[in-house]
């Protein structure tokens, strides 16, 4: 009897693996059973044996036993029995290696075991079928399983045969394959046309395992598919929908969760089926109740809730009224040992607080803020991301931003540390939160500066990843919004004018846009602010002009023109410099970009362009006559005259204001 032997002692496990290749069938069978019993339930042993190459060895046993015809050579009854045992045990061992262990799944697939396992499904022996079906099911529960091509006719036939089987394990396998591989709407449609969903609806009324597996598969077929979903739901006057709703109050928590998940998919795809039956409200209550489950179901319930209320203000309100925030914060406070659950709770809180101030206030009242900011330092990457997203939601609270709630070291320091995080998604999530927090209205931005925030953001603005670049520029833009000179000077000195100029000409348009917006905020205000555009020989101003000449996207034009209009609100020298930018770029035959923008369909772009003209032609500043003349010669005034009845009110009023300013300088006959 094998006693508890140390797996570290060399020889024993390796010895077992080599026995799998023994010429004697009996010895192979014994080795298989020993291996199987050692690895089942024991992740550590699975990994150890994987390293020793156990999977290819077991796969070889399976292939060998499958190859033998029934009753070979000596026609001995025990031989056939032994072959059956070898099939069952090797399949079970492979299934166990694949159970919850991604490396194991890969090893089984790489060892070419899948075709052999599939063959077991047509065996006359029920135990062999069971064994094969269970193992394949384990494999298909992993993302690493090979994709099943539903668009292939033979594959579809095979799948249907699985679903039609009387064997629980086999139907479960069919359902697992669908859940795993059904992704595109073409596949969903193919499955619908083949009558798969009818089978699944029937199976929902079957045993517990069939029911759970079918609910999951139905969700996969329904997800985001606007054509298939209504058909499924209208089937037999809504029998399917009623059945799923019934199971949201089943005894088994897992069934309730899966039924809820299915209904969430329905509600996201075609909300008309859930309107009027108050289904979404019931779903919220069910999910909040499922949160109480201590196991995996409870973990997943928070993700389901999160998905249900995402972007939906009315549902967030319903959840608030159902006391969701109290319940979520309660779980947050209870020292969760499971990282998955913590991530789910944070994500749910992030979503519920994303639009409504009442939700944010409630969370802050419950003193849960510290728990959220503590999670910024968690070991698990996903949790750090979730905590940042939650903070971003909370920092949308204008009331608390104004009170300076977030601009303190307990929040800023861990957030800034995350800007160095090895994971890009953490960096981006942290940037999201920072972008909101720096819009601090109490003018306590010095806190942020002292913690080295500006330096870090400036560094990130030169990151390899373009999304990181644009997000960090956005944060800097928000920081400089209505900021004092001291703050602006720090920003400019950290980022440097030449770097900013190159970011204005960045290959990615999102980066260009944020860079221009940052300049817009920097130069906004007094004459000294406008001067920032002229540092290092006007490199920034020049970059703006160049970029606008080639700008194709309206957003770039808008930010650039507002930046120019801020600069044009300065002194004569500054206004003249803007004039130069308007006309010096482009060749002889190219239209000045301002003309192009005035012709744009985008209201905001036309508005921004007029603002530049208003500021350039204002009579309080010397040199206005010269500027107006130049504009007239370029046909701009004529263009403005054609816009006096522009459909956009902002544009119309500004055009008229500009024209009335220009009138002072004489008007050649129109």
């Amino acid at each position: 009897m094998p006693s508890a032997s140390p797996s570290t002692s060399s020889g024993r496990p390796a010895d077992l693996v080599s026995r799998l290749a023994s010429p004697d069938r009996g010895a192979r069978l014994r080795a298989l059973r020993e291996l199987k019993n050692q690895i089942i339930g024991n992740r550590t042993k699975k990994l150890a044996y994987l390293k020793l190459g156990a999977v290819p060895a077991v796969a070889a046993v399976l292939a060998d036993a499958s190859d033998d015809g029934d009753g070979d050579g000596d026609g001995d009854g025990s031989c056939c029995c032994r072959r059956h045992d070898l099939l069952v045990q090797s399949a079970a061992a492979l299934g166990s290696f694949a159970c919850g262990v991604d490396v194991g799944v890969r090893a089984v697939v790489d060892a070419g075991a899948l075709p052999w396992l599939r063959r077991l499904l047509v065996s006359p022996d029920e135990k062999v079928v069971d064994s094969g079906a269970r193992s394949l099911k384990m494999i298909y529960q992993s993302k690493l399983a090979p994709k099943y091509d539903f668009l292939d006719h033979q594959n579809l036939e095979f799948l249907l045969s699985l679903l039609n089987s009387k064997n629980d394990n086999v139907t479960g396998l069919g359902a697992s394959i669908i859940t795993h591989s059904c992704q595109t709407s073409a596949e969903q449609w193919a499955l619908y046309e083949a009558g798969v969903f009818q089978k699944l609806v029937d199976l929902i009324g079957g045993s517990v395992s069939q029911r759970d597996a079918s609910l999951e598969s139905l969700t996969a077929i329904i997800k985001n598919n606007h054509e298939v979903t209504p058909k499924i739901l209208e089937f037999e006057n809504g029998r399917a929908l009623n059945l799923i709703i019934k199971f949201t109050i089943d005894k088994s928590p897992r069934t309730r969760l899966l039924a809820c998940a299915c209904l969430i998919a329905v509600s996201k795809t075609s909300s008309r089926y859930v309107e009027g039956i108050e289904l979404e409200s019931k779903l919220i209550y069910r999910l909040l109740e499922l949160l109480e489950d201590p196991g995996q179901v409870g973990d997943e319930a928070s993700f389901a809730l999160s998905s249900l209320i995402e972007e939906k203000e009315d549902l967030q309100k319903l959840a608030f009224e159902a006391n969701a925030i109290n319940k979520l914060c309660f779980h947050l406070q209870n020292g969760l040992s499971c990282p998955k659950r913590l991530q789910g709770i944070l994500q749910a809180l992030a979503n519920i607080c994303s639009k409504l101030e009442i939700c944010r206030s409630k969370l802050l009242d419950l003193q849960a803020f510290d728990l959220v900011s503590d999670a910024l330092r968690h070991d698990c990457t996903d949790i750090r991301v979730a905590a940042c997203i939650c903070l971003r939601s909370l920092s949308r609270s204008v009331k608390n931003l104004s009170a300076g709630y977030f601009m303190n070291e307990t929040v800023i320091i861990p957030l800034l540390q995350l800007l160095h995080d090895p994971s890009i998604s953490v960096q981006l999530a942290a940037l999201g939160a920072i972008s909101n927090i720096v819009i601090d209205f109490t003018r306590r931005k010095s806190n942020f500066i002292h913690c080295g925030g500006v330096k870090l953001l400036a560094e990130l603005s030169m990151a390899m990843d373009p999304v990181v670049r644009s997000h960090s520029l956005r944060a800097l833009k928000n920081l400089t919004f209505l900021a004092d000179r001291k703050c602006k000077e720090v920003v400019l000195s950290e980022i440097t004018a030449s770097a900013l100029a190159s970011l204005i000409r960045d290959p990615e348009s999102a980066v260009q846009e944020q860079a221009l917006a940052l300049v817009r905020n920097l130069v906004d205000g007094c004459v000294q602010s406008v001067d920032y555009a002229f540092t290092e020989n006007g490199i920034i101003l020049d970059a703006i002009g160049r970029q606008l000449q080639y700008a194709s996207k309206a957003e770039i034009g808008i930010q650039g023109m507002y930046a120019l209009s801020n600069i044009a609100s300065g002194s004569k020298v500054q206004k003249d410099a803007v004039m130069d930018q308007l006309f010096q770029h482009g060749g002889m035959n190219t239209q000045p970009f301002i003309m192009r923008f005035l012709h744009s369909n985008d209201n905001q772009l036309r508005t921004a362009s007029i603002w530049v003209l208003i500021n350039l032609t204002t009579s309080y500043c010397p040199g206005a006559a010269g500027r107006v003349l130049k504009l007239r010669n370029a046909g701009i005034i004529l263009q403005l005259k054609s816009m006096v009845n522009d459909p956009c009110l902002d544009v119309k009023l500004r055009v008229r204001a500009t024209l009335s300013q220009c009138m002072k300088y004489g008007d050649s006959t129109m």
């Binding site: 199987k36 992740r43 079970a92």
Partner: protein
């Protein structure tokens, strides 16, 4: 069962506290019809869930009631339960894996409890060195894989620290009740894997009776069943 149906009917009527004589009560009870088939099913369900194979087989022959589960699977399940109850945990594990290899792979808590029981048996048999090795090789990784097991792990390992194990704070782990607890857990897991309810229906029915009587106590004085095992109707006494 008639008592339950009758009680529920009375409660629904919502009368003020009235007295019902035993004679009157028994007469009304007789009027309530319970189908024999339903009772047979309840009995069969009880025998099957609890694992009384021979009794279930005999009952099927004598009453013609079909069990809702294949009786041969009961034998396998009972073998596992018995092995645990006798302290042969390793044997039990092998049997469960033969029955359905998914069970222990998808039930980390159950697997941990079985390993824990193995350790307890080693300690009970005085095999201290082997126990230490086992704890290190088999149980410690479980604690690493899943933090929620750590507390129980510590308790179990604490057994090793005491000379007189029967008198130590964690001595309850050596009780027969611990074996029975583990055996019951395994039994439930096997039943669940076979898509069968892990609890028999009969206890639920009795619980319903107790609840209904408690409800009715507020409205009437009537012959109660105090002893569930005899189901004897007590004389109604004015309170």
């Amino acid at each position: 069962m008639a008592q339950v149906t009758f009680l529920v009917k009375l409660i629904m009527r919502g009368s003020s506290k009235k007295v019902i004589t035993k004679e009157d009560w028994e007469k009304r009870l007789n009027d309530v019809k319970i189908r024999k088939e339903d009772m047979n099913k309840l009995v069969m369900n009880f025998l099957v869930t609890e694992g009384f194979v021979d009794a279930a087989e005999k009952f099927r022959k004598e009453s013609g009631t079909e069990p809702d589960i294949d009786l041969s699977t009961i034998t396998d399940r009972m073998a596992v339960k018995k092995a645990v109850q006798c302290g042969n945990v390793e044997d039990a594990i092998e049997k469960v894996n033969d029955l359905n290899p998914e069970i222990l792979d998808t039930n980390p808590q159950l697997f941990f409890h079985l390993q824990q029981q193995r350790l307890i048996e080693l300690i009970r048999n005085g095999k201290v060195e082997e126990a230490l090795e086992f704890a290190q090789e088999e149980l410690a990784p479980r604690g690493e894989e899943n933090q929620s097991f750590l507390e129980e792990l510590e308790r179990t390992v604490a057994l090793l620290a005491f000379e007189d194990v029967s008198n130590c704070p964690v001595g309850d782990l050596l009780d027969m009740s611990q074996r029975l607890k583990t055996a019951s857990e395994v039994n439930a897991a096997i039943l669940t894997s076979q898509s069968h309810e892990k609890d028999p229906k009969l206890p639920s029915l009795l619980k319903m009776l107790v609840w209904a009587q408690n409800q009715l106590d507020e409205k009437a004085i009537y012959p109660r069943i105090k002893d569930l095992s005899t189901a004897k109707l007590e004389d109604p006494s004015a309170s």
